[in-house]
Symmetry: C2
Subunit: 152 residues, 2 copies
Amino acid sequence: MLSEKKLELIERIGVFHEMRGVQPLMGRIMGLLLVLEEAEATFEEIVDYLNVSKSAVSNALNVLQLKGHVAYKTKPGDRKRFFHLTLENWQGDMEKKLCDISEMSSFMQEVLEARGETKPEFNHNIKDICKFMDFLKTRIPSLFNEFRKSQG
Amino acid sequence: MLSEKKLELIERIGVFHEMRGVQPLMGRIMGLLLVLEEAEATFEEIVDYLNVSKSAVSNALNVLQLKGHVAYKTKPGDRKRFFHLTLENWQGDMEKKLCDISEMSSFMQEVLEARGETKPEFNHNIKDICKFMDFLKTRIPSLFNEFRKSQG
DNA sequence: CAGTTAGTTCTCCAAATAAAGAACAAACTT
DNA sequence: AAGTTTGTTCTTTATTTGGAGAACTAACTG
């Protein structure tokens, strides 16, 4: 059994993800795989730790794998899958999240094209937002470079 | 009536927001206020343009105002409220979104405190993620400065 | 081949969401 | 005072969602 503290942390991580439109169980599983000492769990362990049905876990794991947040490895002589977070590529994920902010940029472009010149000040704000999003996108790689440098 | 193009754009912007956990109508209203030539709309106009009930609009507008995405102004001799996006502070909003990415950092800190040393490599990844998030937070202001400079 | 293990798929159900509609209220108008 | 405008609030309803549980399957095990 997991400590009260870890269980509570898993729930909070779950809620955190829920607030961002992630299915509840998916958030819990990510929390579980973070706090588990082994950093991995079998299908059955996930069912037992989180006290949910196999079907729910099956679905959640498939989505998590499709999204690239979770993967599994196997061990010789063991048919079980050992699911784990794909933290190795956290920089890629982070970059994706940063770019996602800028995803609004293409909508804003379309908005600008659809708008007339009645409200130049408003249009100007939208243009600025676009510019910043594009600027941000160009700066992301150097942001990571700077970080790596600062880490030695 | 709005052009087919604008209606379709509003819907896509709505879906974009839905995917991020925003209530459907809230996303549509934000889309509407973006594409409307006047960049503002009365309560009744929102009801008519989007073809939804007054109660739905009332609730959505209240939430949007609470979240600071929408505000209204009035005009002398007119009791109507003219709702509009609060784009003026888009830099503040953008900063909040960037910081939100880093919000995971505090959870990661807790995870680290709850974890033992069994998986040093995994722990190391988490530490790196924390470090980058913290680094990102410190860099946000200069990011905006750089942008302003690049804009002259 | 009978039984287990590890997971999937399908059907069903409870709860949460989102919005409709009607009644209501406050402020203004005539 | 009676009616209108501009919303709000309350109750109800349709839809979506998330997960339970059972039946199923594929792979292995003895």
